[in-house]
Amino acid sequence: MIELRDLALGTPDGSWLLEGIELLVPKGGNHLITGPSGCGKSRLLKVIAGTERPARGLVRVDGREIWPGDGVLSLTERVRVGFAFASGGLLSNLSVWQNVALPLRFRGIPAEEVRVRAGAALERLGLQSVAELRPHALSASARKLGNLARVMALDAELILLDDPLEGLDAADRGRALGLVRGWIADATKTLLIALEDSTPFAELALDRLELRAPSIPLESP
């Protein structure tokens, strides 16, 4: 599903943040990307999603060349990608419900099905009471859950999660963890999770890519 070859990410001062990244994630595979803050985990996810251009290297998703290429537009309408951002990512002029429903509406899914799927995702993550609020009126953890709800409602095939548990209280963490574990167990979904602390997934047999600041990956199974 994901293929990275000789990937390099630069920094504004011209040095390498990451260099020589090689990664192969098969369809249905689950991968943890770990490393200290600032080592390039989030940027690596954005490169795979096609929203950031790498300094060098090849990125292929579901057989399609993203880089070098058209980036995210190569994936639009071809692969259902869900990205839960570490911060932001929800449209500020739409309510949480509208944010969750928009990708479904744009795919031309019938209104009734959109209502059911968005409602189920919001209920699963305990967001029904804030569904009509806009992101700026929500807590940071609710915004994070909103991102997860959007991924869930979309029923994404490729799921990219950027620090999905960071800043969540115990109850929210439990909900999010339950959802992510469900995705891990689902063989139809390919999952990449960027985390600073991999303890919550320690007992699960996940492949890992460990990054270390400022450069050079340690391993890529």
């Binding site: 929203t51 639009t76 309408e77 869900g82 500020s92 928009l102 959007r150």
Partner: protein, 261 residues
């Protein structure tokens, strides 16, 4: 040599800017052609919002400005030309000054002030918050969801506002002509109709199309270039206003030369 390099830099910058604009327009057109029927509701909804903001919400401002302008134009014209049979030139004056030139031009200036600034600021804020990345990642094509509705919305709005502007300016002129100089409605309208030609309609339509494109894509260009911080937003807004004004005046001059020179 250094002098030549310094001289060439702004030219290269300008050509790059034109290239970027052409790239945005062509990509938006290409992605517009790829729209599916079941996506029209979402894109149409966004277009309606843009029409409401750019067109409907600006209606009173444009109508009031046009009414005053029409009245003032006739007051000034009559004050200079009274005694020279100025009433015979009412139609020519209104068509030359208002319908041909000031109607489309002032409407575009008002839309630049109200809407292009808003579009640039909104897209810039979306870019900074990662909203555009989030849209694209989740399968929502930004050309179809953001750029196309803004373009269509501004196009429809500018067209409607120019029609309103012209109508209200003529009404303002009629008010002055009737109250101060006793010109009848029939005489006034006949005079305007005789001065109008099909060329004026064609030139106005061309202006509407080009002004709407220039306004939208200048705003999108500067808004989408914001990458680093909130402080870039006011800079982008200022650049949008200056650049769009220059573009609109340049296009106006070109069209005038093309149609009437």
């Amino acid at each position: 040599m250094r002098f030549l390099v310094r001289l060439g830099a702004p030219v290269r910058g300008f050509l790059e800017f034109l290239g970027d604009q052409a790239h945005l327009v062509l990509r938006t057109l290409r992605h517009a052609l790829l729209l599916r029927m079941d996506q029209l509701a979402v894109v149409g909804g966004q277009t309606k919002l843009q029409i409401r903001f750019t067109g409907l919400d600006a209606l009173w401002l444009v109508s009031g400005t046009a009414l005053l302008l029409g009245a003032v134009t006739l007051i000034q014209a009559f004050s200079q030309l009274s005694g020279l049979g100025a009433e015979n030139y009412i139609g020519v004056l209104m068509v030359l000054i208002i319908l041909r030139e000031l109607g489309p031009l002032l409407t575009a200036v008002l839309v630049i002030g109200r809407s292009s600034t808003a579009i640039a600021a909104e897209l810039g804020a979306m870019q900074l918050n990662g909203e555009i990345d989030a849209l694209a990642t989740h399968g929502i094509n930004p050309y179809q969801y953001l750029l196309l509705p803004r373009w269509l919305g501004v196009l429809v709005s500018v067209f409607a506002l120019v029609v309103f502007f012209d109508a209200m300016a003529l009404a303002g002129g009629l008010l002055v002509a009737k109250l101060k100089y006793g010109v009848t409605f029939g005489f006034y309208m006949d005079s305007v109709r005789q001065a109008l030609s099909n060329l004026d309609f064609a030139a106005t339509l061309l202006k509407v199309a080009l002004f709407a494109g220039a306004i939208t894509f200048h705003a999108c260009h500067f808004g989408l270039r914001i990458q680093r911080s909130q402080t870039e937003i006011p800079q982008a807004v200022t650049k949008t206003v200056v650049s769009a004004l220059v573009a609109v005046f340049a296009l106006d001059g070109l069209i005038a030369a093309l149609f009437y020179f």
